[in-house]
Amino acid sequence: MKCPRCVQRIHATADQCPHCGFSLSDLDREFGSSEVLLTKLYDRAGILKYRERRELSRLMARFESSFPQLFFSAYYEALEPVTNIRQYGFWLLNRGAFNDVDITRANEGGIMFLVDVAGKSATISFGYQLDDLLTSSESFEILSAAHPFLLQGQYMKATKLVLKRLIKLLKKQSSISSRKILEDEKSQNRDKVKAASLQRIRTRPTERGKL
């Protein structure tokens, strides 16, 4: 876990960064604490064409059908020079109210791909549900793959690639976690069976005694 401001490692339950004292309230003071109405695909910079937006929307819907607990969001804006994109993404995912996301999907399952068109930088922010699924290095690899398209200004292709890589990663994580769950279940079942047999063994001498 890293602090959005100083990018130092912090504890998973820290209320504020022990290094720089950062917390969400700092960003609320800067950007506001009320909810921000958003859509999953928010092209504030106007960089996508209508056809591209439609296609991206379709891809996002497909993502949601494959991952019922998650949703993907793409945000394009020309941020102010002083705005830190990492912090902005952190604040947006917490304060954003996506009106086109099903209510059963909380922001904890959200993945936001944020592109600062003016500052020419991009980042990925994600909810608590993906803490164990997505790491900083993995997000860097995903962004690096999209880097050439970002350089050429092909934001549509960059977003598609990010989405594609995310899907691949999440499917892999899903199979790993499914195996883990199965193993856990198996071990739990084994424990239960063991406990039941032990119980039976303990009760038998008493019966023998009775006999």
């Binding site: 876990m1 890293k2 602090c3 959005p4 401001r5 100083c6 990018v7 912090i10 998973a12 339950t13 820290a14 209320d15 504020q16 960064c17 950062f22 917390s23 969400l24 309230s25 059908s65 494959s66 991952f67 019922p68 607990q69 998650l70 830190n84 994109i85 990492r86 952190f90 995912l93 917490n94 922001n107 904890e108 959200g110 500052g119 020419k120 930088s121 991009a122 980042t123 990925i124 922010s125 994600f126 909810g127 608590y128 549900q129 993906l130 803490d131 164990d132 997505l134 900083s136 997000s139 860097f140 962004l143 690096s144 880097h147 970002l150 499917k171 899903s174 976690s177 883990k180 769950i181």
Partner: protein, 350 residues
Amino acid sequence: MKSFVLVFLLSLLALDCVCAQVEPDPLVPPWTEDDLKALEEGSLVPGFDLLLVPLDPSQEALKNLLSPEVELPEREVKIELVPEPEVDPTLISDADLIRYFSKQPKSYLVDLQGLLSEPERDDSEAFLVYHRQHSQIPITLFLFESEQEVPEDFAPEIQLRKQFDSNEGRVLVYYFLGDPERTQLVMSPELRVLISGLEADRFLGAGIAGALGKSDAVDQLSNFVVELSIEMYLIERKYKEETQRLEQQVMESEAAVPTPLSKADELWVIWQRVKKPVLIGAFVLLVGFLGWVVRWLAFKRRCYVFPAVDAPSRLGAPHAAGVGAVISFRSSQLPPSRQKEQAPDYLQRY
């Protein structure tokens, strides 16, 4: 005066000769005019009386004839042998040469010197005609005497070229009646192409051998012609069989080499060859594709779920605190790793 005497004596001599000529023979009865007439009419047959009338010994003439006392006058019969002019047996007269070789003969047997009698000529001619009716190669035979020499200018090769059509298969023979071994035989160029020299020699040899089997010259000629015809028949049969065999081979090779097919036919033939593997491959591909489609449809609807995470809030954020990498795409010269913003400016060391 002397001349007059000479003329007188000569006339007397002539008169004597004439008188002597008309002097009747005492033993032969003289002819009368009536006898001559009857003879001409046919009513008088000399000697017929001798046959009808019995011999009467009392007849004087007969008595005289039969009498041994009668002396028949002796006559001197002078036989003067006139020697025949010497003729070179090897020469053919110019007239005959012209008749032989001036134009194309009309018959297959050319006997312009009349060496054969008419029946003999007809027989040989008939056989040569019969041969022509059953063969595609006529035989023309020029007949010469046994010792005659045909001049080089009229050699059979030259005559064959001059008198006959060079495109037609023909055999020309110079036969020397009585000497079959001198026979000369030539074949037309068309035949020479087909018949080897060895075969031609054998052909002539068979005729000569057949001829030598007889002693009579005419029989030799007949045998020669027959043997020649038989040999020609055998040669024709042999080449006919050879031709049929070659034609069969050509037909087989033509059958093996297919005639050029049209584009559609070529494609059809190719399709017939590759039909089976193509259909099997297409079926396998189709099944594979359908299986992939089914799998894709199944996987398309597949959902991926994750275990529920009861993560505590962090930094006062109710929903999300996951911070990924930040990447800059300002410079196309630097790689993404060099444009990775991980630490804020105030925390970076310079």
